[in-house]
């Protein structure tokens, strides 16, 4: 009990010194809880949405996906004849049934041909206005669509694009472009996270989306009272026979949730991963805080031991303080987590994803996970300092402050650290030298972890060397103040090491990813220069296929020498070794593709793969299945019949673009797949006549003006796009890593603040003999800068090593160029110096304000 009392008193007495550690725990816990609350809320939102939009039983056409979101590669949704509706109505237990038609592959534009599709990745849905929708939506303005010239739009989309009644909009599908005027605006009763929805009347929807009348994509069935969904499903299935997909409301909602859930899970675990890194960094901060508190309290602990406290009691009193810190930090963190979740929802709102705080979901597990994680991590981190406190001898009460350095422990640490670093280096070397990707990534993971731990362990030793070098460059010119700052940074290498290591972790990841990212851009650019022989690449950014109308528009553009269509489909392969490979990707293109993309072959000539009933395979596939030139593969095309294709070329696996693709000609594909099932083009390549590139570029853009979903890019655009995409991804990751870096900066502030307290008398003495406030502040700032630069140097070095190793490993997959982004690396290094200056602001200010006399008098 006394132990707890002393711990409580110590905790309150030093609450200022604990504050930054508490903030570190708070931030990490808040990020974890925020992630959990945010994803739970998203799940709730989608659950509500799907529950409200699913009817008791849904019948979908064969070939529809489980979610009923029906897009097929020919650009038209799979449909069933209207007779199915009649059959369903006859089934027992059916109260009512209604046929619906909808498509998620249409593009909707306003009168200026600007796209009305969401930019957040949410779908654009065009369908008929049916009873199910009438139940879940409320018409707030105008009326439901009637006739082919009317369309109704959802309220969120109308708001976002300032649409009003009477505005003209166009629905672009593989059938053609259908134009209509807005007749009404309808609002969702539950939160719609961001889909844009457009309603036509049934007949118009059939014509505009499928190009046929009397067909439906789905039949929504409502159960008569007393009939369960499962029973109704059985009855309906029995009535209409096989060949259709029949799902209960729960099955539809589950399928919908699974399709969204995958994305949500990826997001959740990615964010939790970054929270984990922040925790890791926070551990260093907590270890430092407790080490410093124990060091400052050595005499006090000695006294406790002298008057009879056992080691265990001393140890436990420190751990009890850690427990209190963990509890306080985690409690605040859980609260802040909810705030972070709300903030994230607002942020998503800005990118076009509507989430309502009404749906805010805090599962009981969230605070429990947050608390347990925060407390366990804090207590574990304090364990080492607590053990050290237990080892304080009673003699310490009598000795002067300042325990002698433990030279033996330093030697042991050096040996362990060097072994770990060596092992990590070996792992990285093996990863770079590996010739199998799977094996290499194992070595890479091992090498990264071991070298990181190794660096953390030898950090204090490195601090001695690195700080001296940095000091010679950065601090010496500043005279005695710089020299003292250097000495201060060196006087407790373990502390400097741990503080720097915290910063090292975040910056190592930044450096590693930036090296991999810029190597990706450089490799892809090189590859583009080397292998792309066409001028323009035309494709949609939203994953829509090219409609025949758009392809025709491209082909009739003046100034073009050739246009190459590129399709993608799946087929079941039966290879000469007798194996059958289901759903294998195969590319069908015009023969000119061999000129547009120069793919290296290891055998044969790629142009021959476009001859009738011919194909190419890639090197690795050929090796795995014993394929040589002339081998025959049975290819059963999706939605088509089986062909026996002759292998006439084997392409090199060493490529970035179209890696591992297997080619055949569109002509061959057409022989086995009926015209109405033929997949639409994925993308189209266009090559201008010599000297007409600029004119062709402009003409192409204007030819596609009516199809805003497609973008024309010349090679420069394409490279820039690639660069932007990778840059965006990196920025997102840097943003998430900022949390870990903020915690690390708190660590620097913490170390400096506690050091200033510890050196109160010294500071008083220096002030007494004439050190000015400004010099004192500069001294502390310089110490901070050196610590930050130390962490940055280690982190950037380590990270560049990791990045270069990863590039070597990825070279197996075509990432051939290693590019170190020096501007980023140097920017981060210089930025770290500023981070150091910033971290020292408050400690330096407080040191400057110290009263000289009190400082001298402090015991």
């Amino acid at each position: 009990m006394t132990v707890m009392k002393t711990s409580m008193r110590n905790f309150y007495a030093h609450k200022g010194r604990m504050a930054l550690s508490a903030v570190a725990v708070l931030l990490s816990v808040a990020f974890v809880c925020g992630t959990l609350v945010f994803t739970d809320t998203m799940n709730t939102t989608f659950d509500k949405l799907f529950a409200s939009t699913s009817s008791d039983v849904t019948v979908s056409a064969k070939g529809a996906s489980d979610t009923g979101e029906t897009t097929s590669d020919n650009g038209k949704p799979p449909v069933m004849p209207a007779s199915v509706l009649g059959a369903v109505r006859k089934a027992d237990g059916v109260k009512s049934a209604e046929g619906t038609v909808f498509s998620t592959s249409a593009t909707v534009v306003d009168a200026d041909k600007d796209s009305l599709s969401p930019t957040s990745g949410a779908p654009t849905i065009v369908g008929n206005w049916n009873g199910n929708d009438a139940r879940t939506m409320e018409i707030t303005d105008g009326a439901a669509p009637k006739g082919s010239d009317q369309v109704m739009v959802d309220a969120d989309t109308a708001d976002k694009h300032h649409l009003k009644l009477g505005d003209e909009i166009g629905v672009i599908t593989a059938v053609g472009t259908h134009t209509a005027k807005i007749s009404g605006i309808a609002a969702f009763q539950v939160t719609n996270p961001g889909a844009a929805i457009f309603y036509l009347d049934t007949k118009t929807a059939q014509e505009a989306l499928v190009g046929e009348s009397n067909v439906y994509t789905n039949v929504n069935v409502t159960a008569a009272s007393g009939v369960s969904d499962a029973q109704l499903k059985k009855n309906v299935a029995a009535e209409i026979g096989g060949g259709y997909k029949v799902q209960t409301a729960k099955e539809t909602a589950d399928a919908n949730r699974d399709s969204v859930g995958g994305f949500l899970d990826v997001m959740k675990y990615a964010m939790l991963g970054f929270a984990g890194i922040a925790f890791l960094v926070g551990i260093f901060l907590i270890i430092n805080t407790f080490s410093m508190l124990v060091a400052q309290r050595t005499r006090e602990i000695g006294l406790m031991r002298a008057i009879g406290s056992s080691r265990k009691q001393v140890n436990r009193s420190v751990l009890a303080e850690a427990l209190l810190l963990g509890v306080v930090g985690s409690l605040l963190g859980v609260g802040a987590g909810v705030g972070i979740a709300v903030g994230l929802m607002k942020l998503m709102g800005m990118t076009g994803m509507n989430l309502s705080t009404d749906d805010l979901t805090v599962a009981w597990t969230t605070p429990v996970v947050g608390m347990v994680l925060g407390i366990v991590v804090t207590v574990l981190a304090a364990y080492l300092p607590a053990r050290r406190a237990g080892k304080v001898s009673p003699m310490a009460a009598l000795r002067d402050v300042g325990a002698p350095a433990d030279a033996r422990a330093g030697a042991v640490r050096a040996v362990i650290g060097l072994l770990l670093t060596g092992a990590g280096g070996l792992g990285l070397y093996l990863a770079a030298a590996a010739d199998k990707a799977a094996e290499g990534s194992l070595w890479l993971g091992l090498g990264v972890v071991l070298s990181l731990i190794g660096f953390v362990v030898i950090g204090p030793l490195l601090a001695g060397v690195v700080v001296r070098v940095l000091g010679a460059i950065v601090l010496r010119p500043l005279g005695p103040v710089g020299r003292m700052a250097e000495r201060n940074a060196l006087r407790n290498p373990r502390r400097t090491g741990a503080t720097g290591a915290a910063l090292m972790i975040g910056l190592a990841l930044v450096a590693c990813l930036s090296v991999v990212g810029s190597s990706m851009v450089a490799s892809a650019t090189e590859e583009l220069d080397k292998s792309v022989g066409t001028d323009f690449i035309i494709q949609s950014d939203g994953g829509q296929l090219m409609t025949p109308q758009a392809v025709r528009a491209i082909k009739s553009t003046p100034g073009l020498e050739r246009v190459t269509e590129y399709k993608w489909t799946e087929a079941d392969f039966t290879t000469p070794d007798g194996k059958t490979l289901d759903k294998t990707a195969i590319t069908a293109a015009d023969p000119t593709y061999a000129t547009d993309l120069r793919v290296e072959t290891v055998a044969g000539n790629l142009a021959d793969a476009y001859r009738p009933d011919s194909m190419s395979v890639h090197e690795k596939f050929a090796e795995d299945h014993g394929i040589t030139l002339g081998s025959k593969i049975a290819v059963a095309f999706k939605n088509g019949s089986t062909a026996r294709l002759t292998v006439r070329a084997i392409t090199s696996s060493d490529a970035v673009i179209d890696q591992g693709a297997m080619y055949t000609s569109i002509a061959t594909l057409k022989r086995y797949v009926p015209a109405d099932k033929l997949p639409l083009d994925d993308l189209v390549f266009a090559t201008a006549k010599d000297g007409q590139q600029d004119a062709a570029y402009t003409s192409l853009k204007s030819a596609l003006h009516d199809y805003p979903q497609y973008t024309v890019r010349d090679q420069t655009d394409y490279k820039q796009e690639l660069k932007d995409q990778i840059g965006q991804l990196l920025n997102l990751i840097y943003g998430l890593l900022a949390l870990a870096i903020i915690v690390a900066v708190l660590g620097v502030v913490n170390t400096l603040a506690l050091s200033v307290v510890e050196r109160t008398r010294e500071i008083g003495l220096m002030r007494a003999i004439g050190l000015s406030r400004r010099q004192l502040r500069r001294m502390i700032r310089m110490e901070s800068v050196v610590i930050a630069l130390f962490g940055a140097l280690l982190g950037l070095g380590l990270g560049m090593g990791w990045g270069a190793t990863a590039q070597q490993l990825l070279a197996l997959q075509g990432l051939n160029v290693l590019e170190i982004p020096w501007p980023t690396i140097i920017g981060v290094f210089i930025g770290s110096a500023f981070v150091g200056l910033f971290a020292a602001l408050i400690p330096a200010f407080r040191a400057g304000r110290m009263n000289v006399l009190n400082a001298i008098a402090t015991d």
Partner: protein
Amino acid sequence: MTSAVTIPRHGGTGGRTAVAARARQVVKAYGSGETRVVALDHVDVDIARGQFTAIMGPSGSGKSTLMHCLAGLDTVSSGQIYLDETEITGLKDKKLTKLRRDRIGFIFQAFNLLPTLNAIENITLPMDIAGRKPDKAWLSQVVETVGLADRLGHRPTQLSGGQQQRVAVARALAARPEIIFGDEPTGNLDSRAGAEVLGFLRRSVDDLGQTIVMVTHDPVAASYADRVLYLADGRIVDEMFKPTAETVLDRMKDFDARGRTS
């Protein structure tokens, strides 16, 4: 009661006045109203140049406060303090810091040295801070005087308590300050080491013409001084010239007896 404002027996050196520092009607009070405590009560004092002055008095007499005020470490409630002809009361921190750096030396009772710097770096620290080059010849003379020539590369933790205080004395002397203040500089030392340090202080006054003010409660330490000032209840109550340990002790016993009977 004897006035502490005395006619100096030594003549001035060069253009300087014979008085190195003086206090006029200095009051130092803490708190206000009923809790008001007066540490210095209208003190007038002149510190003669080139002399070794000791300030004595019982605990709480205000002797340390007087020294801190004279040295520009503490502010006064009212009155003026002059260092040579410069009034230091009312100076801003920046000027005070510069004044301490350039014109005053300090020796504290303990924790005089920066643990990260070695002996010679500690000695030259005030000049380093000021960005001045130490006078080589003078520095080696000082180092020799305090007998530290073979210890200059050592860190404070590698030096004995006596050696540490000698480094502090050397630091105070090295910058040739107008005046050195010592706050119980031998308080933490055994008698032999203490005698050594006091010997150096005495010699620096005699041989180098240094002005020194030292606060002490040790009659033996006070006997090294030229003049002893006695403080009680924030006032200067007595002074003594050419003291010996016995006369100082007798005078203190006197005060103690008076204090008890009054």
